[in-house]
């Protein structure tokens, strides 16, 4: 039985007032308090965030090819009358996010002020149904909130620049349970729940049909004795009512979602589980990660969105794209770390096992970081760099001429459109588009390739990577 991608759901959540609690802004603002006003002035409002063409691409209202044909810079050419709903999922307001944080909080860590609670309920109504949990989205008076911020250990939370909520520290000495960490964990849980809710509302299976989940988000949920212990997968599944499911968290830096999809497809093929979900919630730590570069370049701070995703994997129905488990790519320890060695292992080796050429693949989904976020901060156009490397490999293999590298990149690649949230852009934002294109008969074969910077954890100098091939049945 072949495993298939039965559904791909995504969500974006606007979080401008949480940018200050991203890892980089928090560190920079503590050293340079004068930066605060500059940061606040460079944040985008809701309408700009919704109308931003890469965000419309992420939720499926534009295709990557549509995005490529639009004038740049994208932030100066918004989509007219852009909706906050797409075929893949919603773009959620910040008030809605605060409501979700409260709704998924099982330990009374989050306290909302009354005005924010009312706005949150209004924004969530009709867009997400978390059973009775939305009933917990209630607030305290502004006076009570101010007293709490004064008296208790925790972090004040803001909405439109004003104090509007609070998150408590959960243990007096445990730094894994301090308010900053709990806020990151709850944000990951809340946004993953939003994507999972959407996947199970729009997809072919219901919450009770889910057997097992992998969470591939970036947060390390645990305590002082076991940092990163897990399992956010089970916590998210509980929120969405997957009563028959359990799950675990998988870790491989940004390559986690692709590892998760490969293992999930394998477990379905082996008939260990019928239906699996691979999840990823948003990374609050990466909000505003490149804000100094954006301030210096005079562009808005576009790292104000939490991305999230949920993929449903199950037995093939003869229509949805199938995972080719005879063409899985891994990056072995002995592979070497040059770009050529990495792509040999992740792209060429799996294709050769199937007897395929590089040009037999319609599209490659690589690291799909939005270049409009990376370039002003002194970084590269990451997808383009990857596509040129792939094109160069195709030249070395004699599949195309040297002069065709740019055409290869254009034809078999795409512009980056995902927020720079590590695991979110790692190839998988294209799965929703690929699934629709295959269902419509417009594509036959797509390869998804992700990399992970294991060296950042200081346990190895190695890079990791993983890939898979998706085919129209």
């Amino acid at each position: 039985m072949s495993p298939a991608l039965l559904h791909a759901a995504y969500a974006l959540t606007h979080a401008p007032d949480l940018v200050r609690y991203g890892s980089k802004p928090r560190r920079e603002l503590s050293k340079h308090p004068g930066l605060d006003a500059e940061l606040q002035n460079a944040l985008r409002d809701w309408d700009d965030a919704v109308a931003y063409p890469p965000n419309q691409t992420f939720v499926g209202n534009l295709t990557p090819d549509d995005l490529r044909s639009r004038p740049q810079p994208w932030w100066q050419h918004p989509v007219v009358d852009a909706p906050s709903e797409g075929p893949f999922g919603p773009i959620m307001t910040q008030a809605g996010l605060y409501g979700l944080l409260k709704a998924v909080d099982d330990f009374n860590l989050i306290v909302l002020g009354q005005p924010l609670a009312e706005e949150a309920c209004a924004d969530l109504k009709g867009r997400v149904d978390l059973g009775g949990r939305l009933g917990s989205v209630q607030g305290v008076t502004p006076g009570e909130l101010a007293k709490m911020v004064e008296a208790e250990a925790g972090l004040p939370l803001f909405h439109r620049g004003q104090l509007a909520a609070f998150i408590r520290r959960a243990h007096p000495e445990d730094d894994t349970l301090k308010a900053e960490v709990l806020l990151e964990n709850l944000a990951c849980k809340a946004t993953a729940a939003l994507a999972l809710f959407r996947a199970l509302k729009d997809g072919p299976i219901k919450p009770d049909d889910v057997d097992y989940l992998f969470n591939t988000g970036e947060e390390a949920v645990g305590d002082r004795y076991q940092r990163g212990a897990g399992s956010l997968a089970k916590a998210v599944a509980e929120v969405v009512g997957c009563q028959h499911a359990t799950g675990i968290d998988l870790k491989a830096f940004c390559a986690s979602p692709v590892h998760g999809l490969v293992i999930a497809a394998g477990l379905v093929q082996a008939e260990v589980f019928d239906h699996m979900v691979v999840l990823g919630g948003g990374s609050l730590a990466k909000l505003g990660m490149k804000f100094r570069g954006h301030l210096g370049s005079g562009v808005p701070i576009m790292e104000d969105m939490l991305g999230s995703m949920a993929f449903v994997i199950g037995p093939s129905n003869g229509r949805d794209p199938e995972f080719r488990l005879d063409a899985i790519g891994k990056l072995p320890i002995g592979a070497g770390s040059s770009p050529k060695a990495i792509y040999q292992a992740l792209v060429i080796d799996p294709l050769e096992r199937r007897g395929l050429k590089m040009t037999d693949v319609d599209r490659y989904a690589v690291e799909l970081h939005n270049p409009e976020i990376t370039l002003p901060a002194g970084g590269a156009d990451v997808p383009l760099t990857n596509y040129r490397t792939l094109g160069a490999l195709a030249v070395l293999r004699g599949e195309i001429e040297r002069e065709q590298i740019d055409a290869f990149a254009a034809q078999r690649g795409m512009p980056g459109f995902a927020p720079t949230q590590g695991h979110i852009p790692a190839g998988v934002p294209f799965l929703g588009h690929a699934r629709l294109a295959m269902l419509n008969g417009e594509m036959t074969r797509v390869m998804v390739v992700a990399k992970g910077s294991l060296f950042l954890g200081r346990m190895t100098q190695l890079v990791d990577g993983a890939s898979f091939l998706l085919e129209r049945p």
Binding site: G336, S337, H369, T374, G378, K451, L456, Q461, V463
Partner: protein, 42 residues
């Protein structure tokens, strides 16, 4: 290229040439690598 007698700090990048790859290149040209690592800019 001959880098004999040269001390090298090799700073690589994940999406380009990684630190260990630069170290191999530098050593093959005769340099002494005193520090090598990879950065991630995404």
């Amino acid at each position: 290229m001959n880098l004999k007698g040269t001390k090298i700090i090799a700073i690589g990048e994940r999406e380009g040439v990684t630190g260990p790859s630069l170290e191999i290149l530098a050593r093959s040209a005769g340099a002494e690598v005193i520090l090598g690592f990879t950065q991630c800019f995404v």
